[in-house]
Symmetry: C2
Subunit: 597 residues, 2 copies
């Protein structure tokens, strides 16, 4: 499965388990090393009881490597720093001064500036970095010049494809590799339809409830379960500092919606926003290391009235803010008007655009309407401009869409946006199940990913109702990993099929522990099994807990295979199905049928 | 929405709520009355705070009607009894004597016969009924003769279509109305692609764990959340008595797999099964009132070797039992050989066939293989035979199928089986997420239902791992109701769209209580909302708990609608968004844009 034998290249190979019970160790963190010793790609290697192992994609970062000491107050090691420096096209500079209002603290606050914030990130300060003389230091620019960067080689190993495929997909704009030069901590990953479908998890405090530590913990928790990127959508106090903590501790690319922070700076009054405040916020976040930014530059003044007759109007926060601004000033969007300048800024940090769909439908009735597709055409236009500036670009999609209208979304987006990666929120396939919108949307997400969407933004059970807690984040991520993986299978991804095959083999051969270790959520699978058959011997029992010994179809089916020349597993022979086997052997001698019958 | 105004016809209209808090009442059980006073179709009528109401399909039976006193030890009232008698084509007869072994009690048991069972159903004994002189007393026979039965009128009201449409669909074999003459307690329902997609929930004790009361409780619990039929898959002790309790208390059709009980009668030894034992079991269950039976008559001797090279062989219990029997005897399946006689039996009770897919794939790798489709072709042949005997018939389908292979299943089934209703288990779209198989399969279920599957058999989170408990049953049912409803929407069902529209309107207008009451699971939706914003005023607050007051896109969007001539709801005006409104009104005077811009 690996392009390179990981066992020989593994430099860290300590057995470990995510749960505490040492006797249940069934996997370890491993690394694939590339052409240089500091290019080490993490994988989760699951050890099967039949002596084989299965390599799984791993997003959990150094936190699951017992050989690495992590400290959230110092942040992760800057893994990419030498690669960035070695390219010689960036420079350090003093950077924009951090101001109290970056954290939502007003000038008039009696509590004063940042110094008084307990929450300030204590890690080593680092000068920001940017492209020399405004040069585009983007993976897109490199790919177009024919360069295979260390980041590209990294994702090639990770995706089990050749580096040239990675370069080609990026150069063509069909994939993005979000990697701000100021976020050297990330383990590079790629988003594009040619690769494994990715999942984003949103975190973020809000004015209603907030805590920096909670958000950092949610980020590591989300990546542990498989989130490929995390968006920090914080809107309350300490927004700058929260983001600093998240960035310094994140092994995955971080996305934001700069408009949210810009709005905080004008006390939530959309009409007081300006290009200057927005631009300042983008630079602030780019210097911190945000890898991709959602920009709702497609919400044009003339599109706003198209939403007036909708059932649920505008449901995107960014979209509604921009619509309010446009109406208040009766002017074209400052994001649209200043888009070229914005491209220059993003290019000099390699921040990836995520062109937001501010007019996405908020209910089934509004799906695929004029407002939505008018904006999509504008996003196509902006995509072309961004590419001219060598800015990596993906396009956001809906939302709420009934099943029969989903395919039109991806087909149209791919056509209009020259196959730029599509990044969708769900879509939810019905409005009537609040508290289960991870499921209503997981259905749509799987379908749209199968048809070519590159990344899925998760939806948690709390969608429409409240802020997700730890359990909701896990449920959301796992539901979306299922959707993404189902799409990988449907797209015929060979690594995806290998995973399913390994688990199904284990199931057929009653290797319960292998089933658990291969499961997307080993702990819950084990706990559910234990709830019915808690005794340890049951996990090697040759019948399923659902059927009981008499009825187990897997067992009867194994007997049939035995009669017809299928392979016997070692486990089967060992574990003593002797009694039952004898029973059938007698019949077997009489009934043998050739396969060719 | 109703073909008849329910308010005028409602005979019971007491306000009630499923949860205990009286102040939260938002719906009541109502009835639509047909052409005769004893034809009363239950609906759930949700009252909205804007004075409107929404009618929802209701499967919960008399249990949610405060005007009806129910007693599980006596069973439900035999609602259809007079209709059946009035047709004059059935007769009562003494019936097959119930024997100890029907409950899994061996002849040699020192505990003796049924009389010693505490569990025996205490309700009023009733003579079984069957067609006079072996006549086919099936809804199919009536429909073909042009008769619209009371049951057909009932489902027409329930589905909001004309009775003639119901008759036509049944007559054409495109729909079934499972209604054994010995199960007069059911509220008739219909399964066919022209109608709302239905959901089945499995219950059943097993040799590993069991309790009669638990199974009855699971049945009422499943129907409360929306199960349209329930299959009793019990395999342990008291199998006859458990079924009696379930049938007498069930407002929905009950399905079984008679092979499971037959196997109990031969102590689990598949090779000791015979047509006589099987036939006796079918009659036993038909006399009790089982409405549809899964029959794995398509597992032919020559197909068994086709499974030998599969990754997971045969995963259907019934399929593996029949395969074992075929191999043990080296003879063709006794179900296939005696199928015509079986048809005659089913026709005389109006038991519906659910032709089982004993060779369905048990993993992604085995999907759509030769064994599976060979069996499907045989099911097509059996479907034709069953129809000749006027037996209502549906066809079971998989299983585990990756997304890109799902459509082929329904298309082929519809072609081969002359559009007989397809009834699928999921399908699961990946194997790697045990503990989340309600989700892996909910994705496939929604898709296959959109493409024409008539009924979905639910999968719970415990699939592959253990026996579902109460919470698992609820989660499974709701996940599948979501899949079914998403399919109804995608098929363009007008009633389905109306439900989504009502909820989305409530969401847009911040009518939180209406949102909860319209939700598929009001209690959980309310609880999730309360977890973030527990105070009662928050439920009338004009911002979402996710965004906080500054960012609420719904609120900003409402402001936009106000500027552009969208309708204002009464709630909006009332609830006093005056302050914010004024803010925008000033801007509004300057920025008005005509819709036609």
């Amino acid at each position: 499965m690996a392009t390179q034998d990981a066992h020989t290249s593994a430099t860290t190979s300590t057995h470990m388990s995510a749960d505490a019970s040492a006797e249940r160790i069934g996997w370890h963190k491993d690394y694939l090393t590339g052409s240089r010793p500091d290019l080490r790609v993490p994988v989760r290697r699951v050890h099967l009881s039949n002596g084989r192992d299965v390599r799984l994609y791993d997003t959990s970062g150094p936190y699951t490597d017992p050989a690495v000491a992590t400290d959230v107050r110092r942040g992760l090691a800057p893994l990419r720093e030498n690669w960035i420096i070695a390219r010689g096209d960036t420079e350090e500079y003093s950077g924009r001064p951090v101001r109290p209002e970056d954290d939502g603290i007003k000038h008039t606050s009696p509590r004063g500036g940042l110094r008084n914030l307990d929450a300030v990130f204590p890690g080593r300060p680092r000068q920001p970095r940017r492209g020399r003389d405004g040069a585009a230091v983007t993976q897109l620019a490199y790919a177009r010049r024919g360069e295979i960067t260390a980041e590209m080689e990294y994702v090639a190993l990770r995706e089990n494809v050749s580096p040239e495929v990675v370069r080609e997909e990026i150069a063509a704009g069909r994939a993005v590799l979000p990697a701000n030069v100021n976020h050297p901590e990330i383990e590079p990953m790629i988003i594009g339809k040619r690769f494994l479908v990715k999942v984003n998890a949103n975190i973020g405090n809000s004015a209603v409830t907030s805590s920096i530590e909670e958000e950092v913990e949610k980020m590591t928790w989300a990546t542990r379960w498989g989130a490929d990127t995390v968006m920090d959508l914080s809107t309350g106090r300490n927004i700058h500092t929260t983001r600093e903590w998240v960035l310094r501790n994140s092994p995955v690319p971080i996305g934001t919606v700069p408009l949210y922070q810009a709005l905080e700076k004008v006390d939530g009054k959309a009409e007081e926003l300006s290009w200057e405040i927005y631009k300042d916020t983008v630079i602030e976040q780019a210097e911190q290391g945000v890898d991709y930014m959602t920009v709702h530059a497609g919400v044009l003044l003339r599109y706003v009235p198209l939403t007036a007759r909708r059932k649920t109007g505008i449901v995107s926060r960014g979209g509604s803010i921009m619509a309010a601004w446009c109406l208040a000033h009766h002017k074209e969007s400052f994001l649209y008007e200043n888009f070229e300048e914005l491209c220059e800024i993003l290019a000099s940090y390699d921040v990836t655009f995520s062109l937001g769909d501010g007019l996405r439908p908020g209910c089934i009735a509004d799906a695929n309407d004029e407002a939505q597709f008018a904006e999509l055409r504008t996003l196509g236009e902006l995509n072309t401009i961004a590419k001219r500036h060598h800015v990596q670009t993906m396009i956001e999609g809906p939302g709420h869409v009934p099943m029969h209208k989903i395919k039109e979304n991806i087909d149209l987006q791919q056509e209009i946006c020259e196959e730029a990666p599509f990044y969708t929120l769900g879509p939810l396939t019905t409005d009537v199940a609040p508290a289960y919108d991870h499921i209503t949307s997981g259905i749509g997400a799987a379908m749209i990913a199968w048809w070519g969407t590159a990344m899925l933004c998760y939806v948690t059970p709390k969608e429409h109702l409240g802020l997700p807690d730890r359990d909701d984040v896990k449920t959301g991520v796992i539901t979306y990993k299922i959707a993404a993986h189902a799409a990988d299978l449907a797209k015929g991804h060979p690594d995806a099929q290998e995973w399913d095959d390994a688990l199904s083999d284990a199931r057929f051969e009653f290797r319960w522990e292998d089933q658990f270790n291969l499961a997307m959520d080993p702990e819950t699978a084990r706990a559910f099994h234990d709830a019915t058959l808690p005794a340890e011997p049951a996990k090697t029992a040759h019948f399923c807990s659902m059927c009981g010994p008499k009825f187990c179809s897997m067992r009867i089916s194994q007997d049939i295979r035995r009669e017809h020349g299928g392979e016997l597993s070692a486990a089967e022979v060992e574990a003593g199905m002797a009694a039952k086997s004898k029973e059938f052997a007698q019949a077997g001698n009489r009934v043998y049928l050739p396969i060719a019958d």
